[in-house]
C-alpha cells in the first residue's frame, strides 16, 4: 500500500543519495542501531586488542590447563572465560581472534568489491564481448560451492593469511560484479547517460562519474551483508586447519582445538562459537538495516 503511494509521488526519490532522511530512517530502527553498535563494538575491540586483552593470547601454562570459566567451581576471575588445553586465556584469544576475522572479512570485501565493481561496470556498460566474457566467468564461479572452491584454492596455495584473502577474493568479486552489472544495465539506458555521450564524455568517465555514483549505495549495502559470510568461511577454513595457522589466534582454530574436549571442557569451543555467532549476526543485521535505510529498492 505504502509502496504504491510512494511511487505515485511527483518527485522520484533520488535512489542513491545519502540524505538526512536516510539517516533518520536508519536511527528510527532501534534494532538495527543496537546491532550496528555491537558490530562497531567488535571492530573497536579488534583494534584495541593489545591494550584491552587481559593476557598474552599465546602465553600458556599447563597449570591452568582447561581451567573452567570464572563462575564455575575451579574458575578464577583472572581468566573469566577459562583456559584452553594449553592453558591460554580464552577471552584474550577471542579478543585477538576478532582481529583476524574482521580484518579478513573487511579486506576481502573491499578488494573483491573494487574488482567486482570495475568488472560489473565494464560488463554492463560496454556489453558485447566484454559482457559475455565476464558474465560467463561469473556463471562458472557461481556454479561452485563457495567453501569447496576456497578449500581447493587453499589446497593449491597452502595455508596463510594472505592466501586466505586471495582465495576468498577469487570468488567474492562475483557477488559484487553481478549486482553492479545488473544495476549498470538499469542506469545506462537513462537519458542522462546519453546526454553525457552527446557532450563527448569518454566511456570510462561515463562509467565512473555518471553511473557509479548512482549505484554505489547498493554496492555498499551488499558488501556489508557479505562481511558476515566471509567471516564464516574464514572460520570454516581455519576450523579445517587450512586457514590461519597456529599460534595466531583465530576463532575457527579455537573451535577446532576444543572439539576434542567438548564433553570435558565445553567452554574451549563454545565461547569462540558464540563470538562468531554474535559478530556475524550483528554484521548481517547492521547490513540489513543499512539496506532498509539507504536502498529501499533492495528490500524484499
Amino acid at each position: 500500500m505504502t509502496a504504491t503511494a510512494a511511487s505515485a509521488g511527483a518527485v522520484p526519490r533520488a535512489s542513491g543519495s545519502i540524505t538526512r532522511q536516510n539517516l533518520r530512517t536508519f536511527l528510527s530502527d532501534r534494532f538495527g542501531v543496537l546491532f550496528t553498535a555491537i558490530f562497531l563494538g567488535f571492530i573497536v575491540m579488534a583494534i584495541l586488542a593489545p591494550w584491552i586483552a587481559p593476557h598474552d593470547p599465546n602465553a600458556g601454562s599447563l597449570l591452568r590447563r582447561l581451567q573452567p570459566p570464572a563462575w564455575l567451581p575451579g574458575g578464577s576471575w583472572a581468566y573469566p572465560l577459562g583456559c584452553d588445553s594449553l592453558g591460554r586465556d580464552i577471552l584474550s584469544r577471542i579478543i585477538w581472534g576478532a582481529r583476524v576475522s574482521i580484518f579478513i572479512g573487511v579486506v576481502v570485501v573491499l578488494i573483491a568489491g573494487a574488482i567486482g565493481t570495475f568488472l560489473g561496470l565494464v560488463a554492463g556498460f560496454l556489453g558485447g564481448i566484454a559482457d559475455t566474457a565476464i558474465s560467463r566467468m561469473v556463471d562458472v564461479l557461481l556454479a561452485y560451492p563457495l567453501l569447496i572452491f576456497a578449500i581447493g584454492l587453499m589446497g593449491m596455495m597452502g595455508p596463510g593469511l594472505m592466501n586466505i584473502i586471495v582465495a576468498l577474493v577469487c570468488f567474492e568479486w562475483v557477488i559484487t560484479c553481478r549486482l553492479v552489472r545488473a544495476q549498470t544495465l538499469d542506469v545506462r539506458n537513462k537519458e542522462y547517460v546519453e546526454a553525457a555521450q552527446a557532450i563527448g564524455l569518454s566511456p570510462l568517465r561515463i562509467m565512473f562519474s555518471e553511473i557509479l555514483p548512482n549505484i554505489v549505495s547498493a554496492v555498499i549495502v551488499v558488501a556489508t551483508l557479505r562481511v558476515g559470510t566471509i567471516i564464516i568461511i574464514e572460520a570454516s577454513l581455519s576450523f579445517l586447519g587450512i586457514g590461519v595457522q597456529p599460534p595466531t589466534p583465530a576463532w575457527g582454530t579455537m573451535i577446532a582445538d576444543g572439539r576434542v574436549f567438548m564433553l570435558a571442557a565445553w567452554w574451549v569451543s563454545s565461547f569462540p562459537g558464540i563470538a562468531i555467532f554474535l559478530l556475524v549476526l550483528s554484521a548481517n543485521l547492521a547490513g540489513q538495516s543499512l539496506r532498509d535505510a539507504f536502498d529501499p529498492r533492495l528490500t524484499r
Partner: protein, 328 residues
C-alpha cells in the same frame, strides 16, 4: 536557404539485431533485423526548424540519435556543415559535439540525480575545456537566467524542481556550449500542456536570440504545425513526405500524411477533413511489407505498390514524396 545546408542526411539506415550471441550462430539475420531507420535522406538548413513526425515506433528518435552519432548508422552518411561525421572517432567528433546537442523527452531521466544544477549545466564546459572555473560559473549562471531559472538554483539537485523547470535545466545544458544544431527529441511531450506552451515559447525565443537550428522530433501534429518550418513524415523507418509545414498541413499528398492529419480532432466543423480510417495495425518492423511499406494499410493501394517500393520524388511545389500516386 542560402549556401550549403547545415545538416545533410543521406541514405541513413540504422538496424537493430534482435538475436543474442548464441542465436547469431544459427538464426538468419534477415528475420531478426529491426530496420528502425531505413534509407532516410533530408537536409536541414541553418536557423530553420525541421520537424520529424510519425507514430510511436516509426524510428523518429533513433533517427535523431543517429544524426548526433549517439548511435552509429549502418549505412549512409551524415554531413554536418560540410564535414562528413559518419565515421569520425570519439576524439575527432568532439569539436562537432560542441556544435550539436540534444534535449531529451523525459526531464526526470535526463538529469543525473546525484549532481547539482551547476554541475549538470557546467559539465559540457568542463569536458570541452571552455574557460576557467570562474568564467564557467558565470556562463552557467547566465545560461540559467536565459532559460528562466533563478541563480539560486545552482546548488540544488534535479529532484527539487518541477518537470518544466527540469526541462529548462536540460535546455540550459544543451545550449551552454552555444551549439548550432539542437535535436529536440519529444522535448515537450512529457510536460503538462500549460508548461508545454512555456517551453515552446522559450525554445522559439532562444532560436531567435542564438540563431539555433532545431531538429524537432514529435508525434504532436498541432505542435509541429505551429513550430516547424519544414517537416518530414516518417512511416516504418522511412520518410514518406517531406516539405514546408504549411504546404503539408494544407494539402497532404501522401495517403499516410492524409490519414495522420485526418486523425487530428478539429473544433470547427468547417476545418474537419473527411476521416481516413487506417485499417490494421502497424506492421512488424522486423518484417516490413514488400513494395511500398504502407500498402497494407493504404486506402489507395494499387498493384504496383505491393511489388515496387516507390522512390522519393520531388513535386513542383518543392515537396518530396514517396508514393506511386505521385511519381513526380
Amino acid at each position: 536557404m542560402t549556401g550549403a545546408p547545415l545538416l545533410q542526411v543521406r541514405g541513413v539506415s540504422r538496424h537493430f539485431d534482435l538475436r543474442n550471441g548464441l542465436e547469431r550462430l544459427y538464426k538468419p539475420a534477415a528475420r531478426s533485423l529491426v530496420r528502425a531507420v531505413d534509407n532516410v535522406s533530408f537536409d536541414v538548413w541553418r536557423a530553420e526548424t525541421f520537424g520529424i513526425i510519425g507514430e510511436s515506433g516509426c524510428g523518429k528518435s533513433t533517427l535523431g540519435r543517429t544524426v548526433l552519432r549517439l548511435q552509429d548508422p549502418d549505412a549512409g552518411s551524415i554531413v554536418f556543415d560540410g564535414t562528413d561525421i559518419t565515421r569520425l572517432g570519439r576524439r575527432a567528433l568532439l569539436p562537432f559535439r560542441r556544435r550539436m546537442q540534444i534535449v531529451f523527452q523525459d526531464p526526470y531521466a535526463s538529469l543525473n540525480p546525484r549532481r547539482t544544477v551547476e554541475d549538470i549545466v557546467g559539465q559540457p564546459l568542463r569536458v570541452h575545456g571552455v574557460g576557467r572555473a570562474a568564467g564557467r560559473q558565470a556562463a552557467v549562471t547566465a545560461m540559467l537566467e536565459r532559460v528562466g531559472l533563478p541563480a539560486e538554483s545552482l546548488q540544488r539537485y534535479p529532484h527539487q524542481f518541477s518537470g518544466g523547470q527540469r526541462q529548462r535545466i536540460a535546455i540550459a545544458r544543451a545550449l551552454v556550449l552555444q551549439p548550432e544544431l539542437v535535436v529536440c527529441d519529444e522535448a515537450i511531450s512529457a510536460l503538462d500542456v500549460s508548461v508545454q506552451a512555456q517551453v515552446l515559447q522559450l525554445l522559439r525565443q532562444l532560436q531567435r536570440d542564438l540563431g539555433l537550428t532545431y531538429l524537432f522530433i514529435s508525434h504532436n501534429l498541432a505542435v509541429v504545425g505551429h513550430f516547424c518550418d519544414r517537416v518530414a513524415v516518417m512511416y516504418l523507418g522511412q520518410t514518406v513526405e517531406v516539405g514546408a509545414t504549411r504546404l503539408l498541413l494544407a494539402e497532404p499528398r501522401h495517403p499516410y500524411t492524409r490519414a495522420l492529419l485526418s486523425a487530428v480532432p478539429q473544433m470547427r466543423r468547417a476545418d474537419r477533413r473527411p476521416r481516413t480510417l487506417l485499417t490494421g495495425d502497424l506492421p512488424s518492423a522486423t518484417r516490413p511489407p514488400a513494395g511500398c511499406k504502407f500498402h497494407t494499410r493504404c486506402p489507395a493501394a494499387m498493384d504496383v505498390c505491393r511489388t515496387t517500393p516507390p522512390a522519393l520524388a520531388t513535386l513542383g511545389d518543392g515537396r518530396q514524396i514517396a508514393c506511386h500516386l505521385h511519381p513526380g
